[in-house]
């Protein structure tokens, strides 16, 4: 085994842990905050139960606004906010703040789009049976869209795995950071190959897992 890699192994373990931590925080906030935001955005849309043209336009505009920031700009711009929230602007937890900030509207949009695929008639039938708006969300929309939502989360996880590499700029650490610091700045090609290969494997596993779960959930 090349000595560069042997020397790096302990740090590689730490990096994998940091990436996992950043992804976990980012994805969790996407689901917990972005999910309801996406549902709300959908319900505000034309023909839905909370239809409101003005609010829908404003919320949609904010979602687009956050999504249009290049991630690295967002990362830097949010430093004061990050420091206020986590007490620090470096480290994986700090890096998870801008990651979450970007993931929330991203996932909200994916959720909204998936819910649009639920046939209108099914929602209508639930209303005709006397379901409340909340019951329609929980028992109809989320049930019918669940496999699409799992795939949306998979897409999100994979995009944010690569976003997390940028987090190295603020000392976030992680696998991508390792690739840049050793593989790129120090010309250690073997390290570069190893880290990229590791990322390839993680992406494949995520997609494979997401596909398998989505297929299991889909009874259509």
């Amino acid at each position: 085994m090349p000595e560069n890699i042997v020397a790096l192994l302990p740090e590689l373990g730490v990096a994998v842990g940091q990436t996992a931590l950043m992804l976990a925080i980012g994805l969790a906030s996407a689901v917990v905050l972005g999910g309801p935001l996406g549902v709300w955005l959908f319900l505000l849309g034309p023909g839905q139960s909370l239809e409101h043209r003005g609010v829908h336009a404003v919320v949609g505009w904010i979602v687009n606004l956050v999504r249009s920031f290049p991630f690295i700009i967002l990362l830097v711009a949010l430093v004061p906010f990050t420091r206020a929230l986590t007490g620090s602007s470096i480290g994986p937890v700090a890096a998870a703040v801008p990651l979450s900030f970007a993931a929330i509207p991203y996932f909200a949009r994916l959720v909204e789009q998936n819910l649009r695929d639920v046939p209108r008639g099914v929602i209508e039938a639930a209303h005709a049976m006397g379901a409340s708006d909340l019951q329609v969300v929980v028992r109809v929309l989320l049930v019918e869209a669940r496999s699409g939502l799992v795939l949306a989360l998979t897409v999100l996880a994979i995009s944010f795995l690569s976003y997390s590499a940028v987090a190295g700029v603020v000392g976030g650490g992680g696998i991508g950071d390792l690739a840049i610091r050793y593989g790129y700045y120090r010309f250690q090609t073997d390290v570069m190959v190893l880290t990229v290969a590791l990322l390839v494997v993680i992406v494949q596993l995520l997609q494979w897992g997401g596909n398998a779960l989505a297929r299991r959930l889909d009874k259509r």
Partner: protein, 269 residues
């Protein structure tokens, strides 16, 4: 009780604005009463507004003017919550069935039962079994809609609509996605539902044979208004083209029935 109609629409109207700024009068001022226990047909060409009229009954469409009464209660005067309770007593089935694809047949039929309060699982299971038995699908509880034929899906939809013991079943083109044979047996099921369970049926369709098979009272709906009322087992003097087609069909059916009886008697003799 006997002389108040189960459903009464009092001068309801419904307009839609089109994207180019025009206005479509889907339902012009219309009044309509349906008696308890009746099977009432609403026929019309596509685009005549008949589905909109039906959807006014359970307020899936809110009328722009007029009032809607079901079982003596004015639905148009109810708040959100009270309307949800009232809707339990109004079942509805649709052309596209509108079942939850990711829920089993059992869970689809249990859906309305679980919306209000927290019924005991054993109670739910018993009611679901009853309803599936009515539509002849007792053995399909564990299946998913994707594994069923069109006719079976519509039967599940009927079972679901019956689960909360409604007074009335609204049917919006229930057989339009089905072939002739399946239609025939589905109509038999609907008749059973009407006769055995006493559920009033209002059915909207463009298929005249559906009406002559099932209904006693018919309203011909044209261009957003009721053009005429017909009572199918009385001598007919239809004024509209659809009415005449309907009368011809009803006549032919009666003749065929009589011939059938004569033929059978001839065989026995």
């Amino acid at each position: 009780m006997t002389n108040t109609p189960l459903i009464h629409l009092d001068r309801v109207t419904r307009r839609f604005s089109t994207p180019d700024g025009g206005v479509v009068h889907a339902v012009r001022p219309t009044s309509l009463s349906v008696d308890r226990g009746d099977v009432f047909g609403i026929v019309g060409r596509s685009g005549a507004g008949k589905s909109t009229l039906l959807r006014l009954v359970n307020l899936l469409e809110r009328p722009d003017e007029g009032r809607v009464f079901v079982a003596g209660e004015e639905l148009t005067a109810l708040g959100k919550r009270a309307l949800r309770d009232a809707r339990q007593r109004i079942g509805m089935i649709f052309q596209q069935f509108n079942l939850l694809q990711n829920a089993s047949v059992f869970d689809n039929v249990a859906f309305p039962l679980r919306l209000h309060g927290r019924p005991a699982p054993a109670q739910v299971a018993a009611r679901v079994a009853e309803c599936l038995a009515v539509v002849g699908l007792a053995d399909k509880a564990r299946s998913y809609p994707g594994q069923l034929s069109g006719g079976q899906k519509q039967r599940v939809a009927i079972a679901r609509a019956l689960a909360s013991r409604p007074d009335v079943l609204l049917c919006d083109e229930p057989t339009s996605a089905l072939d002739a044979e399946t239609t025939e047996s589905l109509l038999l099921t609907l008749r059973e539902v009407n006769l055995r369970l006493g559920v009033t049926i209002v059915i909207v369709t463009h298929e005249l044979p559906v009406v002559t098979t099932l209904c006693r009272h018919v309203a011909v709906f044209e261009d957003g208004a009721i053009a005429e009322h017909l009572v199918l087992d009385e001598p007919l003097a239809p004024a509209t083209r659809l009415g005449r087609e309907l009368a011809a069909l009803a006549g032919a059916r009666a003749t065929a029935h009589t011939l059938g009886v004569v033929a059978r008697e001839a065989v026995h003799a």
